[in-house]
Amino acid sequence: MKTIATFSVKYSQSLNPAAELNTSLEQLATAGIHSSDLLDFYQSMLLIRTFDTKAIALQRTGRLGTYPSCLGQEAISTAIGKTMHAEDVFIPGYRDAATLICRGTTMQQILLYWGGDERGMNFTGNNQDLPYNVPIASQCCHSIGIAYAFKLRREPRVAVVVCGDGGTSEGDFYESLNAAGTWQLPVVFVVINNQWAISVPRSKQSGCTTLAQKAIAGGFSGEQVDGNDIIGCHLQLTKAIENARAGNGPHLIEAITYRLSDHTTADDASRYRDADDLQQAWREEPLLRLRNLLLNHQLISESQLEAIQSQCNEEVEACVAEYLAYPPQPNSAIFEYMYQQMPCGLKQQLSELETQR
């Protein structure tokens, strides 16, 4: 017997939990990440954490519906938003508020969506991005059509699609990897491996050593990156996205992170998750290590950090105030946008709703 193919999956990390950088700031700058970028990353991650905390508080006090927290996943989600170009298309799941905010979606819109208001579904900011996607991994197929469109029109654009560790078990995920490889499409798959699919741990999701290796079956490369290290995420995403843009085909990045929250506000993770595991995960969370890096290198002072936090608080509070003050939507919102032209039968049902109420 002879070996006819060999594959490998690489793992990378630039900033470890102890805030040690595997390179110098100067070298990082040559790679395109300047000190100002590091500050910007931190500010964006802090904003989403502040928003997330507030959203949970709103849910607990009856002012928001079920909300899926992104606590612990701020690095990879922010990195995606910072790396993509405006003309690229982002295809989200449901835990991606951080990326959406980077791409111009307002916090008010995100609150409206999770607050059960139809108006929350019209993301402004990036008007070709897809809306939130709840049926797990089904969005992967959309990314194939979008990337095919770019290729057909010879546009230097990239589709970036995310899904969870659980999502990689779905047929749509595999069908999409297979198609991406077949046509060598400009699409980057980001698997946000937060170790949990509701109560099912990563170990019960798949017998694969890595989720990244699933790309190999699709005919292209996959890698792992420390998903709590925004610097490493940004570097690897940049390579993948720019490669895809240059016509070199798809790539998969498995970002290793941890869902520090419950699955959603309707879940209680203490039923199935070890407190020790969670504690360990907190030691590796993404904000603290970047904060320490900034402090260690005197890129920021304690008082500046405090100022950034109060700025985030103010920004979030202003958005929440605006969300809470939204006038109610008319009943007709149910019927709008079903078709470009409302069919007669729907007009009749709408008028029944209006007159019976």
Partner: protein
């Protein structure tokens, strides 16, 4: 004017629109060099190239889901599912995304795509190749479901479906793919969607059918005419939304209705039409509404399929029953 069969008309409509609009794409299993297993896409790849006429991997959810991605990017994909029996893996994409994209982006994005599939019994096909499950699709808000019953209507309705700004499921009665040819002018003129077509005027009773069953329905109408019963025949064509106006006007005139369909009886499109007439046309009725349909069973293998499918005889008996009521 060429004489075209229904399948040739389907091909001609796609060919016309692909020439007229460079955003129209065709994708599916074996649609390229092979021209589709029924030849619906014959020559399209030769005419428009491999990038626009796409042989996809064998993955139905992908076919539907990627069409959604193409559609939100401004293309007008025509996706072929090889047989309706294999459409169900694509159903998730259809119901969760295609039908809702306009609504769930509040009009920011839309999904102008066509999902074509051959359907129905009567061609002695293997298991899973003969069902009629249009009711499942008709239940989905946000899509249109269209079924042609002649070459000319296949041509005009498919053009309309491709041009429609919303997703359309276009089900093709494969039993009559080559049953009949007729003059179809390949002039790019579409027929209206959302309306039924009255194929025969009559004043004694209304026969409503769609797809391949119109063949037996029209034959039954001829037979009934010979015995002095004047049947009006309506081709439903638009399974969703249903053109209530034409149906109710006909019932107002005739007072009697028989609905003919090869789908299982319960929870069917025939049931929906009956409900519309009962809700809004009760005072016109002179007899109960009858359904001549398939049974609530698994579609049998082909040796018994003629027993399963409504026959001319069954339609005539039902018509006589409502006349004598």
């Amino acid at each position: 004017m060429p004489n075209l069969t229904l399948i040739e008309a389907v091909n001609a409509a796609m060919n016309f629109e692909m020439s007229a609009d460079k955003n129209v794409l065709v994708l599916g299993e074996d649609v390229g060099v092979n021209g589709g297993v029924f030849r619906a896409t014959d020559n399209l790849q030769r005419n428009f190239g491999e990038m626009r006429v796409i042989d996809t991997p064998l993955a139905e959810s992908l076919i539907c889901g990627m069409s959604i991605g193409l559609a939100v990017q401004g293309f007008k994909p025509i996706a072929e599912i090889q047989f309706m029996g294999f459409i169900y893996a694509a159903f998730d994409q259809l119901i969760c995304h295609a039908s809702r994209m306009r609504n769930r982006t509040r009009g920011r994005l839309s999904c102008p795509m066509v999902l074509r599939a051959p359907y129905g019994g009567g061609i002695r096909a293997p298991e899973h190749h003969s069902e009629s499950t249009e009711a499942i699709f008709a239940h989905v808000p946000g899509i249109r479901v269209v079924i042609p019953s002649s070459p000319a209507r296949a041509y005009g309705l498919l053009l309309a479906a491709i041009r429609d700004p919303d997703p359309v499921v276009f089900l093709e009665p494969k039993r009559i793919y080559r049953a009949q040819s007729e003059m179809v002018e390949d002039n790019g003129v579409a027929l209206p969607l959302d309306v039924c077509f009255t194929l025969r005027l009559g004043c004694d009773l209304t026969l409503i059918s769609w797809g391949a069953m119109l063949k037996e329905t029209l034959e039954a109408a001829e037979y009934l005419a010979a015995i002095g019963i004047d049947a009006e025949v309506i081709d439903l064509a638009s399974i969703k939304p249903i053109d209530k106006v034409t149906i109710l006007e006909s019932i107002q005139k005739t007072g009697r209705c028989v609905i003919i369909s090869e789908a299982p009886k319960s929870g069917s499109v025939a049931a929906e039409i009956s409900a519309i007439i009962a809700e809004e046309g009760l005072t016109s009725l002179l007899a109960p509404i009858l359904r001549v349909s398939g049974y609530d069973t698994v579609m049998p293998l082909f040796k018994l399929e003629q027993q399963y499918l409504p026959s001319v005889d069954k339609i005539v008996k039902a018509a006589q029953h409502v006349m004598e009521f």
